[in-house]
């Protein structure tokens, strides 16, 4: 059944039903604003709480207590008057706050007074030799299968990379009876020292105890190789082995599945295509939107909450969602804002939720050799462009990612730069001796997700067309 939006205009449209979006939509609707929540997935939860209403995993301890927090958020949303549409792909948003959304193969246009983007994070590209081989996938993709279908690897499996999600996934796979042969930890040794000054905040954060016990749980069952400085996948048309260097020693092991993960970065495509100003974040090594304390972006009426506003994790995302929604309520219906928790209270909650983040960002800052590839390693999967191709184009005059399109079509394929954008920026910055901020990023264009020509042809005619017909 196709469920089109009930109205053409809303006070608030929230895009994405992860922690930030769920909290924002519930808050906005509770305050009486007409609220529409559009989400691409089949049910609420986003990535962190994926399949929260439908997961076949019933033993709560297997996915962990943090996962089930999502159920309460969904509960409050359902208790509110927010209109919620799933399988709804927003493919265009502009500075007039006009939104185009595809639902069940049909597109509709809605207009908002305020838009709260809660489009979350993407996994950072991990462009090592062989990363495009079948048999290599991201940890996030593996976790999606685990949460929605309780599917875990049963062949020879290696997980490589770093970051909290890597350990969480490993623990979840093991609890569900899956197989992991080895974990290759790529955390740079120097990062431990760099992170030390921030350790106190981390020790007193909720991440600490949970993170530590999860790592202990995994290390008790799986061989963990730390200090990995080189990593390559190889095979003839299919992954066959993983080769790595740790402590100066190279080892090659046969594998069926390699899961890669080196952290997440804001999913910026929709915000950038709407014209929201972003800046390079030198700690998190990604583009983050320029926002005020309430999450308002450079485009009037567009706020951003959750990991799309800069990686902060699920707890921070929930609070950021409430802050952005409260700001929308203050702007549109000040009188009803009194019902909601005070902004000052929310900001204290946010500071608490963000505690320890700098430590994690510093510790898990990926090493250059895993972000900036060389030689024949593929950078752009869609157009099969290698690192060498990019450098050759720089040598004959390509100055930034947009100019590179003219030489190599990078970023012009179906992924719209999601899988290559950061790599291209950092690679070109290094080659040209400039900062990533100076090099810039692809100018992103709608449709942010492809739609079929037939679907576009079927949208309701514009006023001009209708008038032309009436006039005959």
């Amino acid at each position: 059944m196709t469920m089109a939006p009930k109205r053409e205009d809303y006070d608030v449209v929230v895009i994405g039903a992860g922690p930030a979006g769920l909290a924002a939509a519930a808050t906005s609707a509770e305050a009486g604003l007409s609220t529409l929540l559009l989400d691409e997935n089949i049910g609420p939860g986003g990535q962190v709480f994926r399949a929260i209403s439908s997961t076949p995993v019933t033993e709560r301890s297997q996915l962990g207590a943090d996962y089930w927090v999502g159920a309460d958020l969904v509960q409050s949303l359902r208790a509110s008057n927010a209109e919620v549409i799933h399988r709804a792909t927003v493919w265009s948003l502009d500075r007039n706050l006009d939104i185009a959304v595809s639902i069940g193969g049909a597109s509709a246009f809605v207009k908002a007074k305020r838009v709260i983007l809660a489009t979350g994070a993407l996994e950072r590209p991990f462009p090592i030799p062989g990363w495009t081989l079948p048999g290599v996938m991201t940890a996030g993709a593996a976790q999606t299968m685990l949460k929605s279908s309780a599917l875990v690897p049963d062949g020879r499996t290696v997980i490589a990379g770093q970051g909290p999600l890597l350990w969480l996934l490993a623990a979840q796979i093991l609890r569900l009876g899956g197989r992991i042969d080895r974990i290759l930890d790529t955390t740079e040794r120097g990062n431990y020292f760099a992170a030390l000054p921030h350790a106190f905040a981390f020790l007193t954060s909720p991440y600490f105890a949970k993170g530590l016990s999860m790592m202990r749980e995994v290390k008790a069952k799986v061989q963990v190789v730390s200090g990995v400085t080189e990593l390559a996948a190889s095979g003839d048309g299919q992954l066959a082995s993983v080769s790595y260097v740790a402590g100066g020693k190279r080892e090659t092991i046969p594998v069926d599945l390699l899961l890669l993960h080196q952290g997440v970065v804001p999913n910026v495509n929709l915000a950038m295509s709407a014209g929201v100003e972003h800046r390079w974040d030198d700690l998190q090594l990604c583009w983050s939107p320029v926002l005020d304390a309430s999450g308002n972006s450079s485009v009037a009426g567009i706020a951003i909450a959750g990991d799309g506003a800069g990686i902060g994790g699920a707890n921070a995302a929930v609070v950021r969602g409430r802050i952005a929604a409260r700001a929308a309520v203050e702007a549109l219906a000040l009188a009803t804002a009194a019902k909601l928790p005070a902004m000052a209270t929310l900001r204290v909650d946010l500071a608490r939720a963000e505690r320890g983040r700098v430590f994690l960002d510093t510790l898990f800052r990926p090493a250059p050799q895993f972000r900036i590839p060389s030689g024949d390693t593929i950078v752009c999967r869609c157009e099969e462009v290698t690192a060498k191709d990019v450098l050759d184009s720089v040598a004959i005059g390509a100055t930034g990612p947009n100019q590179l399109k003219a030489y190599r079509r990078t970023g012009m394929g179906p992924c719209q730069g999601r899988l290559c954008g950061l790599t291209v920026t950092e690679l070109m910055a290094q080659a040209r001796g400039k900062t990533p901020q100076a090099i810039g990023y692809y100018r992103l264009r709608a449709p942010v997700k492809p739609i079929t020509l037939a679907e576009l042809a079927a949208v309701p005619k514009g006023e001009a067309d209708v008038k032309a017909v009436v006039r005959g």
């Binding site: 500075r95 246009f109 100019q403 399109k405 449709p447 020509l453 042809a457 005619k461 514009g462 067309d465």
Partner: protein, 379 residues
């Protein structure tokens, strides 16, 4: 710091780059000033049509001059610009439209132009097998084709620089003034002086002309384009419709570019455009009707370039009517890409020789200032 050069070209579109390159070929050392980067706007993001077909008569001589350069573009630029020549076809969707085509071709023939050729339904079907069966014919210009606009503009810029052009990108030209027989232009902390100034600033050129006392009726527009995913090869020539707003081109890699002149809302000061999806949906419907093979293709991306359109739809090209050493090259009104190579060559002739064999008389800025027409230029 002030640099003396032979000419100052403002605007790094295909026109400014081509003029700079041809000035170098004539032995001059120009500076090219571009506020963004070469090809940032219309020149880099247009449909890439290399078209003599369906042009306004006053610009046909320039278009023909340009076509000869396009056909040897690699010789000029050491880059093929992905130029390919499968012709361009204007499709008549009914007998009424075909009659208009017939009259047009007759008019051109009477003027001595033979590049447009009337075709019947059978020839149309041979050239464009995928077109709807009901179309009775059209017009073909067989030497026409298409090129990659960003690649082309970039190649012109690169070659111009190799031949001696000083390129300044990322800072706008400002404080344009004339004193002591020279044009002076500031670029950030630098300043350039030259006896010649070429205003090739595209959508921003009208402001420059007006500031120099030559206002013209020009508006800023942003024609939209969209490109599809790869579909099996089904069409070679560029196709445009006589009646409805549509142009259509399949590239070697299978992607299909859909254009036709529906407009986005430009924001010139932000260098941005806001797309009008309801108009793009109209284009999608036209393609859906005419090319059933396209129905399952996906739209990958849509965009719009910011450009200048003159009230009379033909460019402003030639010397200023008021100032010595000032030349205008803008207002190409959504059809300037093909003209770029030829216009640069002709502009260099005007600057270096004081005249050209190519007929461009109807394109001068004096057409908007009748009072200046026969008067001697001042200053």
């Amino acid at each position: 710091m002030s640099h003396n050069v032979d000419a100052i070209v403002v605007g790094g579109g295909i026109h400014g780059c081509s003029t700079a390159l041809h000035l170098c070929l004539a032995g001059l050392k120009p500076v090219l000033i571009e506020k963004g980067y070469a090809g940032r706007h219309a020149s880099g993001v247009n449909a890439g049509g290399v078209r003599q077909l369906a042009r306004h008569i006053p610009e046909i001589p320039l278009s023909i001059r340009s076509m000869a350069i396009w056909e040897r573009i690699s010789d000029l630029l050491d880059d093929d610009c992905s130029f390919e020549s499968f012709g361009q076809v204007l499709v008549a969707e009914n007998e009424g439209e075909l009659a208009v085509c017939r009259a047009r071709v007759a008019e051109l023939n009477a003027l001595g132009f033979t590049h447009e050729e009337l075709i019947d339904a059978a020839e149309l079907r041979r050239l464009v097998p995928a077109v709807a069966e009901t179309c009775p014919g059209g017009v073909v210009s067989r030497r026409d084709g298409a090129a990659n606009p960003a690649q082309t503009t970039t190649a012109f810029r690169r070659k111009a620089e190799q031949l001696g052009t000083t390129v300044r990108e990322g800072v706008a030209a400002s404080n344009i003034r004339y004193s002591d027989g020279l044009w002076h232009v500031d670029v950030g902390t630098e300043s350039f002086a030259a006896p010649v100034l070429v205003n090739a600033a595209g959508a921003w050129a009208g402001r420059i002309a007006a500031a120099l006392g030559e206002p013209v009726p020009v508006e800023t527009v942003a024609p939209m384009l969209m490109i599809t995913s790869r579909v099996p090869h089904f069409i070679d020539p560029v196709v445009i419709l006589r009646g409805r707003k549509l142009s259509f081109k399949q590239f070697k890699n299978g992607t299909v570019l859909i254009g036709g002149g529906h407009l986005a809302t430009p924001d010139q000061d932000r260098n941005e455009t806001v797309l009008d999806w309801k108009s793009l949906a109209t284009s999608a419907r036209t393609v859906f009707e005419l090319f059933p093979v396209m129905r399952d293709a996906t739209i990958m991306r849509a965009w719009a370039g910011i450009e200048a359109r003159m009230k009379d739809d033909i460019p402003v090209f030639g010397p200023s009517a008021r100032h010595k050493g000032l030349y205008h090259q803008f207002g190409f009104s959504l059809h300037g890409f093909q003209l770029g190579p030829g216009a640069g060559a002709v502009m260099a002739e005007l600057i270096v020789n004081g005249g050209t064999q190519t007929r461009i008389g109807d394109l001068g800025i004096d057409r908007f200032h009748p009072s200046t027409r026969s008067k001697k230029r001042t200053s």
